[in-house]
Symmetry: C2
Subunit: 362 residues, 2 copies
C-alpha cells in the first residue's frame, strides 16, 4: 500500500518533470575527453591541419569522434541530445548506434552503469545528418555524474545536451588515470561494437579506470610512418597496438622496424604492447585467406620476436583465444562483436595489467 502510493507519487513527479521545457547546452563547453593531443575542432580526435596522413580516408577517420566522451554532472530528471554527423549510413556489419549514436553511463557506487543510448536518424537519404533523441528519462532526483561516449565511426559536427529548464549541468573532472594509447585497425576502431562505449578500448578504460585514446583506423592501419610520427608526439604511459590486422606479411616486414624506430626515438622506455592479429573466421574455408592471414601472423611474430631481443620494453600478446572456438564472435568473419570483444578482453586484460604494473601503471 505504502509502496503503491510511493510509486504513484514518483510517477506523478516524473511526468511533471518530463513535461518541463528543455534547455540545450553545447557539449563542447563541458569536459570532452579522449584526445591524445588537443585539437582545434571540439569533437575531432586528431587535428588534420597539424598532422597530415597523405590519404583522404585516413584523414576522414582522423576526424571521427572515435573514443571521445563528454563528462558532465546534472540534476536533470532527463537527458536528451541534439547532434549533427555526416549523412552516411553505417556499413552493413555495424549498428547505426555504434556508428553515429551516443552511449550514456552514470556513475553508481564508483561503477559506470549503462543508462541509455542516443538513437540516430535512420531514414534513407543523404541529408539525414541531424539527430535528436531522449537518452534517459524519469530519473529519481539527485546529482548524476555522466559519461557520454560519442560516435565511433563518424564525424560529429556539433552536440547539444538537453536538460530540464530548472536543472544545472556542469563539467565533470576526468576520473581516468594514466595515458594509454591504443592504435589499431577496424577492430580497435570498434566497427562491430553495438554501442560507442562497447569498443574494447572503451571497455578496457572503463573497467580499469585508465585514460585510453582510441586510434583505430578501419582497414588503414598499415604501420605507416605518419602514424608513428603522431604517436611520437603523444605524452603516453603505454602504447597498445593492434598493428598486424591490416598490413600484408610483406608490408609488416618492410615497415615494422622503421615504425618502431620513430616511436622509440621519442619514447625510449615506454612499454609497447603488440597484440597478434586475431585468427579471422574468414579463414575457415577460404584457402587464399588462410594463406594470407597465416603469412601475416608469421611475419608479425618474426618481426616482434627479433625486436624483443634488443628492446626489453616490447611485449607480444598471442591472439589464439581472441574469438573463442565456437565461430560466434564476429559480425562478418573479421570484426569482433561485443561477444568477440568480451573474449578478447578476457584474454588481454590480465596480461596487459600485469605488464603495466611493472611500470607503476595501476
Amino acid at each position: 500500500m505504502v509502496r503503491n502510493i510511493l510509486i504513484t507519487l514518483l510517477l506523478f513527479v516524473s511526468v511533471t518533470l518530463n513535461a518541463q521545457k528543455t534547455q540545450y547546452h553545447d557539449a563542447a563547453q563541458l569536459n570532452v575527453i579522449g584526445k591524445a593531443i588537443p585539437t582545434s575542432r571540439s569533437f575531432t580526435r586528431i587535428d588534420t591541419a597539424a598532422y597530415r596522413f597523405n590519404d583522404a580516408v585516413i584523414e576522414e577517420f582522423a576526424c571521427h569522434s572515435t573514443g571521445l566522451a563528454v563528462l558532465f554532472a546534472t540534476d536533470s530528471p532527463f537527458i536528451k541530445a541534439k547532434w549533427l554527423t555526416s549523412g552516411k549510413n553505417a556499413s552493413e556489419n555495424m549498428t547505426a548506434i555504434a556508428q553515429k549514436g551516443l552511449d550514456l553511463y552514470i556513475r553508481q557506487n564508483g561503477e559506470w552503469v549503462f543508462a541509455g543510448v542516443g538513437r540516430p536518424q535512420m531514414d534513407q537519404g543523404p541529408d539525414y545528418a541531424s539527430h535528436k533523441s531522449t537518452i534517459v528519462k524519469s530519473m529519481a532526483p539527485g546529482r548524476k555524474e555522466c559519461l557520454l561516449y560519442l560516435p565511433l565511426y563518424d564525424r560529429l559536427d556539433s552536440l547539444f545536451i538537453g536538460i530540464a529548464e530548472d536543472s544545472y549541468i556542469e563539467p565533470l573532472e576526468n576520473p581516468f588515470r594514466h595515458r594509454i594509447v591504443i592504435k589499431g585497425s577496424s577492430v580497435t576502431h570498434g566497427l562491430a561494437a553495438s554501442r560507442p562505449g562497447m569498443s574494447y578500448a572503451a571497455r578496457f578504460g572503463r573497467d580499469n579506470g585508465f585514460y585510453c585514446f582510441n586510434l583505430g583506423f578501419s582497414g588503414m592501419s598499415k604501420l605507416q610512418k605518419e602514424y608513428a610520427e603522431y604517436l611520437a608526439d603523444i605524452e603516453a604511459d603505454a602504447f597498445i597496438f593492434d598493428a598486424f590486422s591490416n598490413p600484408s606479411a610483406e608490408i609488416i616486414h618492410e615497415r615494422f622496424d622503421a615504425f618502431v624506430d620513430i616511436i622509440r626515438a621519442a619514447h625510449p622506455e615506454v612499454p609497447l604492447i603488440f597484440m597478434q592479429t586475431e585468427r579471422r573466421e574468414s579463414r575457415n574455408f577460404d584457402t587464399w585467406r588462410e594463406d594470407f592471414e597465416a603469412r601475416k601472423q608469421a611475419a608479425a611474430e618474426e618481426e616482434i620476436k627479433e625486436r624483443m631481443k634488443t628492446d626489453k620494453h616490447i611485449y607480444f600478446l598471442p591472439s589464439d583465444d581472441f574469438l573463442g572456438d565456437e565461430h560466434i564472435a564476429t559480425s562478418d568473419g573479421s570484426h569482433p562483436t561485443d561477444l568477440g570483444f568480451t573474449y578478447m578482453l578476457e584474454s588481454i586484460s590480465p596480461k596487459i595489467l600485469k605488464i603495466l604494473r611493472k611500470y607503476g601503471i595501476k
Copy 2:
C-alpha cells in the same frame, strides 16, 4: 619448400576456379527449412492468406524470412548469392547483415562452422532492395554441406545461389530433429543479433541439433489469440515462449489464460516452457520503466504460477541472469546482442534440455 609449391598450386587452382563463370540456382528449389506450417510463398514464414492477424505490422513480420534457412550441398569452390528484399534500412540498433543479409555455415565433423556472410546493399535510397555478394571463395575441392540462414528482419522475395559453371548443387536433407516452436518478441526475432544465424533461436537449434521455428514478432507479441490459433495448428513437440516482453502487466492478466487455453485445446500435454522477460537495462535509471517492467514481471510470474497448479506440463524459467551483471549485453538497453544471447543461452539451454528429456526430446 614443398609447402610453398603446394600453396602456390592451391592459389593458382583457386584463382582459376574463381575465374570460372557462375551459374545461379533458385534457392526455392533446394531445401528451405524453418516454416512451422508450409506456406505458398517460398521464403515466407507464415501464410498470411491462411492466417489473419488483423494488424498490418504483424502481417508484414509474418512475411519475414526469420528463422528460415536453405540446406544444400555443392562442390563449387565459391558460393555467391543474388537476392531481393524490401528496400528498408535496418533500424538503428541492428546490423544490415542481420536484417537483410545471409549467413552461411558448412558442416565439418558434424559441426556447423561459420563460412561467410552475404553482405546486403547499404547505399541510401528506397530502391536498394537488390543484393549481390560473394559469401565464400577459394574453397578446397570437395563436397560442402551448407546451411544458409535467410534475413532475420525483412521480406525475402527471391534468392539465387551462384556456383561454378561445372559444379553441382543439390538439396540437402534436414538434419535437425524434433519440432520446437519458439514464440516471442524482438528478442526472439533476433533484432540485435549480428548475423541471421546468431539469433538465440537459431543458435539453440544449431547447438543441439533441434528443428526450431522462429516466431519472434518485434514489439507485437502481446498474447493475442490470433497467435494462439496459429500455434494450435502447428505439429510441435515443445513450445518455448518469450511471451512477457511486449505486453503490459494489465494485458498479461487479461489475456494469458485465454492464450494458453487455445493452445492446450490442441496440444493437451505438449510442454509449454515460458521464459520470464529479461530484466531490461533501460530500468537502470528510468523510474517509470522500472515500475512498468517490475509490474510486467510480477504479473507474468503470478499468472504462470497459478496455471502451473493445474497444468503439470507448463514450465517457467527465471530471467535474472539473461543479461549478466556488467551492463554490456544489449545494443540499446532492451535488445540482447550476441553477447546477451550467449548469457541467455547459458542460462536457458541446460534448463530447457532437462525439461525436453522428460518428453523423450533429446
